[in-house]
């Protein structure tokens, strides 16, 4: 099954009140058979940290996508931590020059998850949480590194950053999802007492496997704003990497009602008619497990291209299929 990703960040109530930009930044990247997500939470005290956090996630997704196999082949974790930080700081130094500020003004945390060829790689510095899903359920990989007090943590610019960086690698086996979250999201998606993830995380991972990121991202950010940001003053962000599995079943294995909701078919006609509409969408999604052009699909459906396009439009809007170049394909595959 193919890995999918989605990420989003929203401004917290505290920052909205003081008109400070959202300092949580996320990025995702898939290339060379590697899929990477990254998240950085800019330091509250650093005036330019929203720029810093953006540079960090951009640079790190590119770097890990490029060097994934070297990173997981390296036996000495310290060298990996040093390399990640030196690449990060180099990018931040360039940014500091551009913005005419100090490195400290760009301080942020750093969370990375990447998969490639049956392996995974995780890196975490500072607060926030990295979680994953395997055949037995949601698990926590790394917990927040907060120091004793709530407003203390370690940043990429901290002197002791290398020692604080936590690294994990291994075979994916039955892992089918990863989540990175900032401390703002932690408040709703992580149980601090039991050190467990909220059940909602699994739903987010599942949606990431079923709905195209371009459609899912605004939904995710709306949900973060209206639900998660309500429980904190801080900015909220998550980045998700997931694939279909027994825990995250593919589209065709879902109950009719769930498919209806994913296809965004309203409950406004007779049950028989609704069922018919769902099965029609099912058929298109099944055919598009292999990418097809409009003409190829129309031929297989015995429909005109006009009618085929109309049906595709509905599914594109719902995000269950996407268009790559001139071909359409189902997201869940």
């Amino acid at each position: 099954m193919e890995w999918k990703s989605v990420c989003g960040a929203v401004q917290g109530r505290g920052h909205a009140k003081k008109d400070i930009p959202c300092q949580d930044k996320t990025a995702r990247r898939a290339e060379n058979g590697v899929h990477v997500i990254a998240l950085a939470d800019g330091a509250g005290s650093a005036s330019m940290s929203h720029f810093g956090a953006q540079v960090v996630v951009n640079r790190m997704t590119a770097f890990v996508a490029d060097r994934f196999f070297d990173l997981i082949a390296q036996a000495d974790g310290r060298l990996v931590a040093q390399e990640i930080l030196s690449v990060t700081l180099q990018a931040l130094n360039d940014e500091a020059e551009l913005r005419e500020c100090t490195l400290k003004d760009l301080a942020s945390t750093l969370l990375i998850a990447a998969v490639g060829d049956g392996n995974f790689f995780l890196a975490h510095l500072g607060d926030g949480v990295i979680g994953y899903l395997n055949e037995t359920g949601l698990k926590v990989a790394t917990t927040p590194d907060n120091g004793e007090f709530s407003n203390e943590t370690v940043f990429v610019t901290s002197a002791n950053a290398t020692a604080h960086m936590r690294l994990y690698k291994g075979a994916l086996k039955n892992i089918s999802g990863f989540i990175l979250m900032s401390d703002g999201s932690e408040q709703s998606l992580y149980n601090k007492r039991n050190k467990t993830l909220a059940p909602a995380v699994k739903r987010l991972m599942h949606r990431a496997t079923l709905i195209d990121a371009a459609v899912l991202k605004p939904q995710l950010e709306r949900a973060l704003s209206t639900v998660v940001a309500e429980n904190t003053h801080d900015d909220c962000s998550v980045a998700i990497l997931a694939r279909n599995s027994e825990q995250l079943p593919p589209l065709e294995a879902l109950p009719l009602s769930e498919r209806q909701s994913l296809f965004q078919i309203a409950n406004d006609s007779a049950p028989r008619k609704i069922r018919q509409k769902i099965l029609r969408c099912d058929k298109i999604c099944a055919l598009l497990k292999q990418p097809l052009t409009l003409r190829q699909l129309a031929r297989r459906l015995y429909l005109s291209t006009f009618h085929t396009r109309k049906r595709l439009r509905r599914l594109l809007k719902a995000g269950v299929i996407r268009k790559v170049d001139s071909r359409y394909e189902t997201v869940s595959r």
């Binding site: 509250g44 407003n151 943590t153 408040q187 909602a200 709306r222």
Partner: protein, 259 residues
């Protein structure tokens, strides 16, 4: 689509807490008149190490302090964030031993008892300050342990020490309290606010409790202003995020205090 995150599938973690211990002098000298109309009775009494003229009427230092503490609570309760994050405990020292008047709890839960217990404070006996600070530090330690056990995040604890005289409890307890406070404050595990009330407060002794910040002498009897400032500072701290350095508005306090 609003079903992406359902409230019932989320965790509700407690708001990070700011634990504050008020360690207050209620020795006999706090019964001194600091304002209002008074009438001299002509009687004299020896209390808390000195002779006092007994008068009728007027406002005492302890009454002013009680008013300040109540105002502190009211201000915190009025603040949307501080209301749920600030936790206050009150230790008093008078008589021969310190007393834990109000133990740590959420402010709303303390509402009933605090009105009665704070209003009921009376000035009486000696100044066992060392014993009281040790009790205050024990309370803070116990509360931090509770937070850790229950997965509650918390900010650096605050100790507010207010006295109008000089300690006259056990010298070894006093030294132990000074050492403990210094050890914590030096590694930024505790914020200490030593406050001297009036001209007779032993500022040298108060200074020993605070390696980072000189003690403050309240100009006149500005309890109200001090506690207003304190509640504003708690509010700022309770909204700080990782990496924030909470700058206390010391200029604001200088206007009415003496540093």
């Amino acid at each position: 689509m609003n079903d992406l995150l359902r409230k019932e599938d989320l965790e509700i973690n407690p708001t990070p807490r700011v634990p504050i211990c008020l360690c207050l002098d209620v020795s006999s000298s706090m019964g001194r008149i600091v304002g209002g109309d008074v009438r001299d009775t002509g009687r004299r009494e020896f209390r808390d190490g000195q002779w006092w003229n007994i008068v009728e009427g007027g406002v005492t230092a302890i009454q002013e302090m009680i008013g300040g503490v109540q105002l502190f609570y009211d201000n915190l309760l009025d603040d949307d964030v501080a209301r749920y994050s600030a936790e206050v405990c009150v230790v008093t020292f008078g008589g021969t031993a310190p007393k834990l008047i109000i133990d740590f709890a959420n402010l709303d839960r303390q509402e009933g008892e605090r009105q009665q217990k704070i209003s009921g404070l009376t000035a009486n006996g000696g100044t066992p300050m060392g014993e009281a600070v040790n009790m205050a530090l024990d309370c803070l330690e116990a509360r931090k342990k509770d937070y850790k056990d229950k997965g509650v995040d918390y900010y650096q604890p605050w100790l507010v020490l207010m006295t109008d005289g000089e300690p006259n409890g056990s010298a070894s307890e006093l030294q132990r309290a000074i050492d403990r406070t210094n050890d914590l404050a030096k590694v930024r595990k505790l914020t200490v606010f030593p406050i001297g009330i009036g001209d007779e407060a032993d500022m040298n002794c108060l200074a020993k409790f605070s390696p980072r910040r000189p003690p403050l002498r309240l100009k006149g009897m500005n309890f109200k202003e001090f506690f207003e400032w304190l509640s504003r500072s708690v509010s700022r701290t309770s909204q700080s995020m990782p990496g924030d350095t909470v700058k206390l508005d010391l200029d604001g306090i200088k206007k009415w205090g003496e540093l």
